[in-house]
Amino acid sequence: MRQQPVLEVRGIRKEFPGVVALDGVDFRLFPGEVHALMGENGAGKSTLIKVLTGVHPSDGGDMVLAGERVRVAGPLQAQQAGISTVYQEVNLCPNLSVAENIFIGREPRRFGLIDWAAMRRRAAELVRELDLDVDVSAPLNSYSIAVQQLVAIVRAVDVSAKVLILDEPTSSLDRDEVRQLFAVMRRLRDQGVAILFVSHFLDQIYEICDRMTVLRNGRLEGEYLTSELNQVELVSRMIGAELAGLDQLGGGKRRERTAPVRGAAFLEADRLARRGAVEPYDLDIRPGEVIGLAGLLGSGRTEAARLLFGADQSDGGTIRIEGAVTALRSPRDAIAHGIAFCSENRKTEGLVGELTVRENIVLALQASRGWLRPLSRTAQEQYVQRWIRALDIRPGDPEALVRNLSGGNQQKVLLARWLITDPKLLILDEPTRGIDIGAKAEIQKLVANLAEDGMAVLFISAELEEVLRLSHRIGVLRDHRMVAQLDNDGELTPERVMATIASGAQE
C-alpha cells in the first residue's frame, strides 16, 4: 500500500560539547505525506533538522534518501540531493524580485547572460501553479511575510521536489494566511512531495499532518498516525519525563501552603496584548505570590512576560502597578517600578560575557542609580560576596569572567543581579533550563523563599513539575492565548494542566 520512505535516517547521533543533542534517533518520511516533528525545548528537533539539511554534520547514523545512502555536507548539497528547507525567518533576499528569489543561483541563461524574460515567465508559471496572486517582477519586500514564505516554498519545491522541510512557517501568520499556506501544502502533498512540518500550534498539526514523530531529550519517543494519538496523549509524550519525576517525588514534597495569597495586587494586566505575539490576557500578581506560566514552547509565555517588563510594547490593554495605571515604555520604566526580568536567553539578552561576575551582578542596580552615583567598591564587594555565598556561585571569584562560568552559575549571576535591586516583582523566564539538577533545586528553593518573604514572582517554565511545585496559581498558554488560570489548590494534577495545554478547554 505505502511505498518506500523517500527519506529515512537510522540511529542518528549528534553531540555538542557536554551535550548529546540526538541520541540514536530514527526517522522516516514518506512521499505524499505531511509529517509533524514534535518535541519541547532541548528535545532535539532543531538539531535533527540541521542534520537533515547539512548545517550540522552528524556524529553517527545513516541517512538514506530515495534508496541511496547519502551524506550531506552543507545546505547546498542537501538541496542538490533533494532536501529543501523553509525557515521561520524567511531566508530569501528581500531586496531582490520574487522571480530572482525563486531562481537565484540557477537563473536561466542565454549566451552566458541571464535571460530575464525567461526567468520571469517561468517564475510566473510556478507561482500560478500554486494559485498565488503575485507579481514576480516586484521586489520581495513589497509582500507580506506570508507571501514571502510561499515564495520560499515555491523556490524550495522548484529546486528539489522530493523533501520539503517547513520549520515553524506559521508562527507569524494570521488565520487566512495559514489557510493559504495549508492549501499550498496540500497541493504539494498530492503531487507526491514529502513535507516535514514543524509548528508550535497543536491545532495546526492536527489539521494538516498525517503522521508525527515525537522526540524527547534527544531520543525518539515514537512515531504515530495523527488520527491515532489525541492531543492530551501527544502533550504527555512530549513532556512525559517530568511526569515520571513528579511521581517519584510523591505528594509529600508538594507545595504545602496551597491557600491562595490574599491582599492587593502588585500588578494587574488588563486585556494586555501585542499583535503577533500574544492575544489579550488578564493577570494579577500579589506580593508573596508565585504565578506560574505553563505552556508549550512558542505558546506565548515569553511574549506575555516581556510586555510586563516593557521589553516589548503592548498594543492593547493596560497595566496597573499598585493600583495606578502605568505605561511601561522601556525596561528602565519597569525597573523603576520594582520589576525585574531574567531572560531565557542568558547569553544574548542577559549577561555581558566579557565582564566579570562582580560587574554583571551590579549592572542593573548601577544602571538604575545612573553613572554619576557609582556603587563604592566595598559596597559592590559586599553585595557580590553575599550573593556568591547565598547562591553558591562557582567559582566564587568575583573577578572571573562571566562567560567562563557554567550555565547554572551564569543563571545564578543573573538572579543575583536582579535580587540586589530588591525587586517587588521578579519575572523568571526558564531559569532552570539547561542547568544541572543541583543548581535547579537551589533555584527552586530560592524562589519559594523569596515569595515567602513577600516578593511577587512570575515563574515561566516548560517543566510542569517545577511550575506545580512552586506556583500558587498557574496561567496556561496555548497558541499565544492564555486559555486558563488554575488555582494550585492541592488537587491540581499535572494531567489536568496538560489537558488544558492540549485542549485549551476552560473548565
Binding site: G74, P75, L76, Q79, Q80, T85, Y87, V90, N91, L92, C93, P94, N95, L96, E100, I104, G105, E107, R109, G112, L113, I114, W116, D133, D135, A138, P139, N141, S142, Y143, R155
Partner: protein
C-alpha cells in the same frame, strides 16, 4: 498589492531620482549663470577629468552593494601610478607589459583583502585600512619623490583626443565608459552580479540558498582592486607621473559618488549607472566652482559633505520605513 509593490519599487529609486534632478538642475543653473557652460564639451570634460574616479567608483559600487567598504582604493591608485612610472621610467619596461602587471597586482591585492575579510570575519573597513597603509607605504619604498613619465606611449595616451564631431574625448574617458558598461552587464546579466545583490540583501539567506558567498565576496574585492589599478593606470595617463601622494582621499570621493548615485550603504540596492551620475555630480560641483571663480576649491569638499549628509539621512529614512 500591486500598488504596494509599485510604491516599494519607487521608494527605492528616490535617491537616484534626487540625483538625476540635482544633476539636471545644477547643469541648467550653470548654463544660465555662466557663459560657455552650456556646451557638450563641458559634459565631456567632466568625463575626461574624472575618468579615473569613475572607474574606481564602479569598483566601489560592487563592494558597497555587498554591504562592505573598501578604503584602500586611493592608495592602490597611487601605488599603480608609482609602479607604472618606476618600471617604465627607471627600468625601461614596455608599457604593454607594465599595465597588465599593475592590473594583476591590484586584482590580487583586492582578492587577498576579500579573503581575509570573509575567512576571519574581520570588519571590511579595518582590513582595507591596512591595505591602504600597505599600498601607500609601498609607494614610498619605491620613491618618496614624484617620478615623471616621458615614455612616448604614455604621453601619446595623455595627449590623444578622439574627435566626436566638433567635440572630443580622451581615450581614458572611453575606457571609463567601457568599465561602466561592463559593470552594468556583470551586475545585471550574470550570476555573479545577482549574487552580489543577494549578498547585500542578506548574507545569511545567500548562504542558506546555497550561493557561493565566499567566492562572491572575494571576487567583489578583487574587482574593486582591479578597478583601482585601472584607475591608477588612467591617472598615470592624466598626470604623466607616479607619486605616493596621488589620489589622496579618493576613497572618500568614490564612496560619495556611490552614495549620491543611490546605492544603499547597507548593501543590496543600487546601480552602476547611478554611480556614473554620482561621479558627474561631483565633477559638476567642481566645474561650477571653477566657473564661479570667486568660490574656492574647498567648497567642493563642503558641498560633497553636505550632499553625503542629505543622502545618508535619506537612505536611513527609506530603509527605516521599510522595516
Amino acid at each position: 498589492m500591486n500598488a504596494n509593490a509599485l510604491l516599494t519599487r519607487l521608494r527605492g529609486q528616490i535617491p537616484l531620482l534626487v540625483t538625476a534632478v540635482l544633476l539636471v538642475s545644477m547643469f541648467s543653473v550653470g548654463s544660465v549663470q555662466y557663459d560657455g557652460f552650456f556646451s557638450g564639451q563641458v559634459v565631456l570634460n567632466l568625463l575626461i577629468d574624472n575618468a579615473f574616479l569613475l572607474v574606481v567608483a564602479v569598483g566601489m559600487t560592487f563592494v558597497v552593494l555587498t554591504g562592505g567598504i573598501d578604503l584602500s582604493v586611493g592608495a592602490v591608485v597611487a601605488l599603480s601610478t608609482m609602479v607604472s612610472a618606476w618600471l617604465v621610467e627607471q627600468h625601461g619596461w614596455p608599457p604593454l607589459l607594465v599595465i597588465p602587471l599593475v592590473l594583476l597586482m591590484g586584482t590580487a591585492g583586492g582578492w587577498l583583502m576579500g579573503w581575509i575579510i570573509h575567512v576571519f570575519e574581520i570588519q571590511p573597513f579595518i582590513v582595507t585600512l591596512a591595505g591602504m597603509f600597505l599600498a601607500r607605504g609601498l609607494c614610498y619604498t619605491i620613491s618618496v619623490e614624484s617620478i615623471s613619465i616621458t615614455d612616448p606611449q604614455y604621453t601619446a595616451m595623455a595627449q590623444t583626443r578622439i574627435p566626436l564631431g566638433d567635440l572630443f574625448v580622451s581615450p581614458s574617458a572611453l575606457v571609463a565608459l567601457l568599465v561602466v558598461a561592463a559593470g552594468f552587464v556583470v551586475l545585471h546579466y550574470t550570476r555573479l552580479g545577482r549574487n552580489v545583490y543577494a549578498l547585500g540583501g542578506s548574507e545569511q539567506s545567500a548562504l542558506l540558498m546555497g550561493l557561493p558567498v565566499q567566492r562572491t565576496k572575494t571576487t567583489v574585492y578583487a574587482i574593486s582592486g582591479f578597478c583601482s589599478a585601472l584607475g591608477g593606470v588612467l591617472l598615470t595617463f592624466y598626470m604623466l607621473s607616479g607619486y605616493g601622494l596621488h589620489a589622496v582621499g579618493l576613497e572618500l570621493d568614490a564612496i560619495a559618488a556611490v552614495v549620491i548615485g543611490g546605492t544603499l550603504l547597507t548593501g543590496g540596492s543600487g546601480y552602476v549607472l547611478g554611480t556614473l551620475l554620482g561621479v558627474l555630480v561631483l565633477g559638476l560641483i567642481q566645474t561650477v566652482i571653477s566657473f564661479q571663480g570667486t568660490l574656492s576649491s574647498w567648497w567642493t569638499r563642503i558641498v560633497i559633505g553636505a550632499l553625503l549628509f542629505v543622502f545618508i539621512v535619506l537612505q536611513r529614512l527609506i530603509t527605516a520605513r521599510r522595516r
